[in-house]
Amino acid sequence: MFTTSFNGGVFEAKIGDRIVVHQPFKPTSTGAQIAWTDEADALAWWDETKASFTPPPEPEPTPAP
């Protein structure tokens, strides 16, 4: 369902072309924004996180006024 990318130290998860997760740092309990060690580090976090992440449905079409 999700595809992931790791470019320039930024981890992103997508559904189709939509970016649903933009994670340029490793989340911590203190708020300290620690850079990812590498893609494996980011993917390990994502593996733990995605089960509780509610994937957003497709954006709704804009109805006529």
């Binding site: 509610t54 449905p57 709704e60």
Partner: protein
Amino acid sequence: MPLLFVNRENNGYYTINVMEDPNPDNERIFLNTWGHDVRTLTPSFHKKWHFNWNDYFEWGYDNQYDYAPMYLENGTIQAWGNGDTQHYGVNAFTTFHKALEWNNFPVRNTFRTAAGNIYWSVLGRTTVNSDSAYARAYITGPDCTSGNAFYRFDWTTRVPTHYCWEDTANSRMYAMCSLRPDIEYVSSWSNPNTGFNNSTSVPTSYISNATGGRCFWMGTDNAGWTWWLFSIDGSYSAYYIYKIHPTTLAVTTVVSNAYPASNTQYQKSWPSNLYRRDANTRVFYRGDFVSSQLVVTRYVWDTSGSVISSGTCTITYPGANTYTNYANAFTTEGVDGTYGRNSWQFKPYLFNVSGTNYLTFWICDKSANAGSGTTRWNSTLKRTMVTYSVGSGTNDNQLSYHSSYTFTNITDLPTDFIPINAAGDKLCVPNNTPGIKFWSFNTSTGWQVDSTYNNITPRCIGVDRTYRVWVCTREQAYNTVHAISPSRALDFRVVMNSTNYTYSGSNITATATINAYTTSNTRVATTATLQIIGTNAVFASTGTNTQSVTTSASADTTVNITITGPGMVQIKVVA
């Protein structure tokens, strides 16, 4: 103005008793769906809120499911419970607590868009205590007494219940869905005025956090990201803080699984409201019990750098004292270990008086005198709340003991609290007596009770734009509504220095005395506009038939009137 009306219409469940029109141009409040002037409560005939949703309304009537919701511009709280593990952590109607910055980024069950349209969320009868949540959300035009309403609904989860933010730059609306004990959502949809019409599809949800996650709206940062805090009530009140990009809507997790090590479980450590240290810095706190001591964590949100830092505050007590000299951690017998849907909450309340910030750790339990409440609160030390003064500037991580207040017995314990003035140093505090107390903060002695309003069991309490307090209760076997203005003058008394004068061709200078009183008969200082009705008399200072006057809390206020001819006049307070 105590008891206002008793709603005997179908036990009150086809109507919402009190709905303030979020359109400030209308200056209107709907009582039992009929429009009234929000300032004078004069009925506005032919103005009726008419988009009711028959039998799924939340009742205000008889059992634990019934909350008597009210929709008011300055916030609402849920004030009642009757069991340890009822739903009362869900807070579907608690708009005050859902906003961390209630003055700048309020949360409401209704919302007026920049274009003037109005969202209304109507919550179903079984909403707040059931996984099968019913709700319907409407959008109407600027005048909700006419035209059509579009609605959408979802039987389970994602109906917007709390409207938070309209991003006008990106034409997007943000809301929370707070219907279920197990999960809450952040929702968002585009084109706020047209993208929410007669559709059964759900708004797009971007964040949720299962297992008792309570959602709080933090506000936006300088770059326009929206920020949200989830507190997971089920265990350690772990905080997760997320931000959502304003255009891509991608989610970034900023803080993950944050709580003090070894904190006592299940206390429901909610975040305080936040204050602005400076243009780019907002600060809030949480309190936890570790080894019997209160541990306070400060969160500093840099809205320019889009980062948050946290750390433990230092607390100074007189002499060698510690927290346990003044108060003890309350215990959590009766806990719902799954969802944390318990009747209590431990919320620090941050307010400013004369340039100093204070932080009070309010202990609230909607079921203190039922279930295991008697055990949770079985000592005076447990029933004591403590206030600290907060250091200024970057020293706002330095707290100093200021005062404490002991609730004499279990029934004195608050069920919740809500500010009733813009400064936030006056509170309406429902308790388990049952009844209501009105509190104010004294910088020397701390919190004090100014007046009481007993013998009612509040279910929902709200504050309208005039800071009038509305209370919905169950009395006389029906749903009843009280309107109370503890700090706002309701009773103006204007007395002439004589009831008649003899006019013999020359102007006469007369004097009127004016005083203003609250519902508790306390004389207060307030501003009013007086108008002379009749002929041949004007106010001496203006030369016209109107005059603005400011009354005094300690002495009579007088105005001079010039009588210029024969006639009969009266003086009215018109605003």
